[in-house]
Symmetry: none
Subunit: 194 residues, 4 copies
DNA sequence: AATGAATGAGAATTCATTCAT
DNA sequence: CATGAATGAATTCTCATTCAT
């Protein structure tokens, strides 16, 4: 990758980060290309130099954020952890993600309303991969007798669903710090698996 | 209430029901007044006879659905039930609601993006009242020693959050019936309180 | 057709007429929806009440103009005319059309640059039908020995092509009146068929 | 002309040739500077080193193509040909040009929609010069008794107009070769002058 | 000479909302 | 009451053009 290309790649990431921010603030539909550009002190025209259209921009946001989170999750398998510990850490990572990326993450919920044919299945696939990591932890835990649960998929849905909701009520000015929330969620949600 | 008023009130409810449907299908932003009217074989102009504007229409949808659910929840206190039983039934009612009203219910999540100043606090208030019923059950359960939990609010958030997420993945064509989902959720989520 | 519908149909025609005018003046690509609306003292938003989009609007322009001309051409077959006379009258009608509708007519030339998949073949079809009337006159004339020509299609192309070009140079302020042009074209182009 | 200048001049011609191609394919308005540059494996920014703007580029296309054609036409006067022969050859040259340069040539039709004040009259002038060659052949033919025609200008309009239209329908995959079309057009159009 | 990047002035289109009838 | 019609503000996207490097 040449210097030029590196620079361009960095710029693209900058844009994605700003976009995430604006989208998190206003919601996807309410975030206009103008808003996103303004955040970067650019003009909206310039965004189209880097991204073919708004959907593409969003798609790459989604990709960036989810990929980052997946890396963190996968790293858990390199450490020497019990399934319980793995799941607790995974929950914390997920809550962290949800709080930091708010809206962008939330849109995972109803991609059909946002993405077109060509992207939708890639989005769903990525989401499945992401969820798959949690499934893997649950399966391992069950296999090793650490977890006792029959409806494994359902348990995963509950865990991720509960954590996603944090986005809705959490505020840094609130009663709990992010770390406390992570801690409590990790503890309580683990109960479901026991 | 005169006959005329009664008729109007019934019409209003019809509209709200159609609106819920369309919004659940397409999402709030994607549901146009035209779509909503079309569902009722009306023209969009007519909607404005009954509702001041789109926000108002949505607000009343929200009101209608939540009020209905609250009635059902409150009825639980008239029966002679243990806290566990109450919570299980409450969860089932909530999951039922979430599945049936999908999007409309979901928008509870980010009212700031949709409602204006004047409505927002009323919406938040209603939501608090709704959540308050779950809090009440939890509090009673703790007082009576049925539940063992310290972070009571957080537990309630987890329960409602997890249940809200059902909206995202549930499909009537899927592996589980609505009743099975309700059953499993009620069972698993109760673990959090024990 | 109810009164309402008649009114709407008339309005649609008004719009088409204005659109033709503006398109004739500026060319299709340069004629903005705003321009077209302004000509009618409307706002561009209103145009979308009557036409789904710009292409649709243009398509109907095309349809209207060509249909009108075809009626006039077909009427020739009801009169008792020799093929020569028919062709002369047909040429006059065509020149009249070309002068009056300038650009709108011209765009027939390269519909691929303007119309999308769904409309293009309808446009081509219509164009073929139109040209078919000239073919019919030629064929009859040849059958009856009035015309002597081997490459019949080519002759028709020459006649219509030559007449289409009038659009480019004709000006009401110029040396010839419309009627004179029609007369001379009818006379000279007939030579090709003899 | 220095070596540098020669190189630049050659590059300019390359660009013009590519531009002609792209414009012929897509039409002037649809041909973006990007498209034209891409055809040459350049970036659009570079085009502005050679041409002031898009109009200028088009203007020079026009100039190049018409000048080339005029040279070929003028060469006819150096041969020892009858007026009939001259006109037939001229028609063939023109048809050849029309087929090869399609769109670029066609835009001669409505220069007002494309060129600005400063260029328009130069364009019109060039066009008149071009047409003037045909007029000259006609005048000579009439003077020498080879042609019999009163409305000489009109006859020229018919001849050029008919030939211009070839652009619209001709396809190399069609029934006739370019040479056959030229032959037939030359033969039939000559009838007008007799 | 060439290019990557940015810009800004439109253009088409959508849609909540209004209003006369 | 209901509707057809009109509006205008907002939004996405396009592209010729510019300019620092």
């Amino acid at each position: 990758m040449s210097l030029r290309e590196k620079k361009a790649a960095r710029k693209k990431e900058d844009i994605l980060r700003s976009a995430s921010l604006v989208i998190a603030r206003n919601g996807y539909q309410n975030a206009t290309m103008e808003d996103i550009a303004a955040e970067l002190l650019m003009t909206k025209g310039s965004l189209y130099y880097y991204f073919k259209n708004k959907e593409e921009l969003l798609y790459e946001c989604h990709e960036l954020i989810l990929s980052g989170a997946m890396e963190r999750l996968e790293a858990l398998f390199l450490e020497n952890l019990s399934s319980k510990e793995k799941m607790q850490k995974a929950i914390k990572i997920h809550v962290d993600l949800v709080i930091k990326e708010k809206e962008v993450f939330n849109l995972i919920g109803k991609p059909e309303q946002i993405f077109s044919e060509e992207n939708i299945w890639k989005v769903l696939q990525k989401r499945d991969e992401y969820a798959g990591i949690f499934d893997k932890i649950i399966n391992e835990g069950v296999a090793e007798g650490e977890f006792v649960i029959h409806q494994k998929k359902m348990a995963r849905m509950i865990i991720l669903g509960a954590a996603n909701w944090v986005q809705v009520w959490y505020s840094p000015e609130g009663k709990y710090t992010k770390e406390e929330v992570e801690e409590i969620y990790a503890e309580y949600l683990l109960k479901i698996l026991m």
